[in-house]
Subunit: 241 residues, 2 copies
């Protein structure tokens, strides 16, 4: 009967933080490129080109003035652009194949320890996504990978893309919490820096293989985050879960 304030919440970036994107997208793109007779194109380069369009698109989305559009649709557009950059006209390809290729982003596999770490963290904290992925995408990924989210939040709930402040502040608002009661868990310094500016707590998880061992594009934005761990299992240790 006592007042029961919502527990503090852990909100997770997903692409790169909870799941690996480069390995799976590279493997699938290699097979799709072969299927369309373009196996001479380097699938690693193709993957990096596709992801770069995402990073650029998200960083400039708010300024673009474009109406909110879900990531499944943006991923498809970016795939088509990447194909054009490589001299392939997507209009000559089977639309079902393009959709399947796009949905490779729904099939990303958890990093080792992600499911165990989330399961332990969930014992003590509500765990939600704060990802740019849309709900259908995140739901399929969670079902395939066994990611035990309490609920899927982020882009589609706030209708804003990180690093737009409305994505972070809107998530806290929907949770009925002050920004400082929400902790963003992410492998990206740029994401954490934007969250901190909005007043959220921050937890960094190192993912040195996200870019195949090369430095991340935002490596220079590193700060002294509230927590820093090498895996979600280690973060669970640090948070006493």
């Amino acid at each position: 009967m006592t007042q029961t304030p919502m527990l503090k919440v852990l909100a997770f970036d997903v692409f790169g933080t909870v799941v690996d994107w480069r390995g799976p997208i590279c493997a699938e793109s290699g097979l799709f490129l072969e299927k369309i007779g373009q196996q001479h194109i380097d699938s690693g380069q193709f993957t990096d080109d596709w992801r770069k369009k995402y990073l650029t698109g998200m960083a400039s989305y708010a300024k673009s003035g474009r109406e909110f559009t879900i990531l499944d649709v943006l991923h498809r557009e970016m795939l088509e652009e990447t194909l054009r950059d490589h001299g392939i006209d997507p209009a000559t390809l089977d639309p079902a194949l393009l959709q399947d290729w796009t949905f490779a982003w729904r099939r990303l596999a958890p990093w080792p320890g992600s499911v165990e770490g989330l399961t332990r963290l969930k014992r003590r904290f509500p765990i939600v996504t704060l990802s740019n992925g849309n709900i259908a995408l995140m739901l399929e990924m969670a079902r395939r990978g066994g990611l035990p989210w309490d609920t899927i939040m982020g882009a589609e709930v706030t209708r804003a893309y990180k690093p737009d402040p409305r994505a972070y502040l809107g998530t806290a608002e929907v949770l009925g919490l002050a920004p400082g009661d929400v902790c963003l868990v992410a492998a990206h310094h740029s994401d954490l820096a934007a969250a901190r500016k909005c007043g959220l707590k921050t937890a960094f998880v190192a993912r040195p293989m996200e870019y195949g061992g090369r430095p991340a594009p935002d490596a220079k934005l590193e700060q002294d985050w509230e927590w820093s761990a090498d895996s979600l299992v280690e973060l669970a240790d640090q948070l006493g879960c």
Copy 2:
């Protein structure tokens, strides 16, 4: 690598279907009425009056033209109206007490078998809420009661209240599914009838104690639903989970 269409989804009404509202709200309201020195008011009647405002409010929300407002806020307004109807001026009461009383709706307990039934259904189908409850409310209720949702959907995602068709159609759209690929599970014939008009599949779960054993206000809207069960465990049996 094959195309992996999203599995069909089970979308659940929550108040009355997954959790009991009358028993818990009646018990908490009895204690709150005592706390404010109004123990002469019948807590069962008070609970029914409060719930009736909800049913009326939801049925007329779309027509009212009011901007979308989350249920936590509406529950508070309706509590204050119910108090006034009983001759109590809410302005004379402690706002923290009123908020705690309002949040009794976050503390509703699952019906017997709900957690077991949902856990079994989740093995085969994604299970999501299609409730008028807002995310923070549903999240706290799920954490307290151990309701294993894949994700919380409904009002705040579609910004529409059932029985507004936009609530059902918008949920299917966000899931990336045709309405016929989503099955609403509910204890209320009125909810199921509205879902069916939108093309959703329907599963009825009987909750004869929802109104303390009295007939539900929508009893006459009964139809031949695709599935009909006496509990979520029985529904899991019927769906082969």
